[in-house]
Amino acid sequence: MTRTPRPRQRVPLALLLPAGLGLLFLVLPLVGLLAGTPWSTLPRRLAQPGVLTALRLSLETATLAMLLCVALGIPLAWLLARVRFPGRRLIRALVTVPLVLPPVVGGVALLLVFGRRGLLGSWLDATFGVTLPFTTAGVVLAEAFVAMPFLVIAVEGALRGADPRYEEAAATLGAGRWTTFTHVTLPLVAPGVAAGAVLCWARALGEFGATITFAGNYPGRTQTMPLAVYLALETDLQAAIVLSLILLTVSVAILAGLRDRWVSAP
């Protein structure tokens, strides 16, 4: 990559056109949502009791799921990017399974493992009396399952792009692998971690299929915003639009707020 500034060029039409189409394609549904919003009844709908409960549950569970993904996903990404071991390509492919799996199937798979009769769930139930389905912890688990690949892929990409010479320099100066990881590698890939965490949080926030399959739907306990939206859609399209709009506004506001902080970071 050369650092010489490139002369100003006209943006080629062959790029501008598909870029514009792409943007339009992503933004038009949002326009449709705004056009369909019943603005006059908005305040009344906002004040309905279930809305804030579902919103709070959504934000809490998505944040917890993101933290879980960060705690487990960064080490996993590091392993995939920095350690050579047999079967690495297979593991890398396995990490993306939740991405291609229909979320509802993911929910069934979680039930088969963590459910009351599941591989681990039956043991958890018998030993500790803990059952995860139909609990808030179950929601976090379902969201983390679906969202983790976003973090792992983003962080692994950042790690592979990071110059390994810094780590080698740290090692020659006597730093152990753990110290190198915490003092050199992590700061180096911080923007990648942030991007991955944002993707992960956003995916967790919008999660529907795995959540309703694994954790069920009960107001205040497992009914997150996407579930509330889906059920509202059954009877009242406008209520569903309002709920979607709230979720959208809050998440965009949070992301925009955080972004300002991160963009100034190196």
Binding site: P12, A14, P18, L111, G115, R117, F134, T222, L231, L233
Partner: protein, 260 residues
């Protein structure tokens, strides 16, 4: 040079769009008109309507029946938003009403069948559940449908009629979701339709309860106003309401509507 790229890009986009619409097998467009009937039907009609569709095609050579099975409310939304359908069969009069209110029905809907709730329990009924009151016992996990969908509205009426108050483990988005939770052993019982348990008779038993007569669901069917194939649509509705159609539907566990 640039122009060629644009043309190639546009051709690519067009090809992609075409292939995508071509792949959407669930919602075909009835452009050819010639003998295709598109039926939007409630999820609980899946098994019986699939059979009836085959029988109808055999009785009307050259006619194809295409189904879109989903929750009634989702189907009603699709229809009022302009989805191409000839016939709509809903699992409740309330969902049918959203379609008739929007002016999308040709004529008045008729009641095709009725469905009644039962308690679905794992084979052998390990928790010895005999009626609605047993569902409120401590330690019994229950799945209900959410009130917004027909099976949930019926469950609420039945529980109120029995004066039973219970906290379900989950309020499912549709009847098949509640059914799946029993099949997987995550709950001990669920309130579902008799037809659902009959379709899963290998894994589940049905416990009948008297209050279910207080929460009977009528299934209305109607030909839609924007039908591409109105003649075919009417023929299909006539067929499912005929004696032959009735036989298939009652075998699936549906009841005949009164005075029809």
């Amino acid at each position: 040079m640039t122009l060629r790229w644009i043309r190639a890009a546009l051709a690519g986009v067009a090809a992609l769009a075409l292939s995508l619409t071509g792949c959407g097998g669930d919602e075909p467009t009835a452009q050819d008109g010639g003998g295709r009937v598109t039926v939007f039907a409630a999820a609980s009609l899946t098994e019986s309507f699939t059979t009836l569709g085959r029988d109808f095609e055999a009785a009307h050579p050259g006619t194809t029946v295409v189904f879109n099975f989903a929750g009634s409310s989702a189907l009603a939304t699709q229809i009022t938003q302009g989805a191409p359908a000839d016939v709509f069969a809903a699992a409740s009069p309330a969902t049918m009403k959203t379609v008739t209110d929007a002016g999308d029905a040709a004529g008045a809907p008729v009641t095709l069948v009725r469905n009644q709730l039962v308690i679905a329990v794992p084979k052998g009924n390990p928790h010895r559940i005999a009626g609605l009151a047993d569902l409120a016992r401590p330690g019994v996990k229950v799945a209900l449908c959410a009130e917004q969908v027909p099976c949930g509205a019926a469950a609420k009426m039945a529980l109120e009629a029995a004066a039973v108050k219970l906290t379900p483990a989950t309020l499912e988005q549709d009847v098949k979701g509640a059914l799946a939770k029993v099949k997987l052993g995550e709950v001990d019982a669920a309130l579902v339709y008799r037809t659902d348990v009959r379709a899963a008779a290998a894994e589940l038993d049905a416990v009948e309860f008297p209050e279910s007569t207080r929460a009977v669901n009528d299934y209305p069917i109607v030909v839609l106003k924007r039908a591409d194939n109105p003649a075919g649509a009417r023929a299909f509705v006539d067929y499912v309401r005929s004696a032959a159609g009735r036989t298939v539907l009652t075998a699936a566990g549906f009841q005949a509507p009164p005075d029809q």
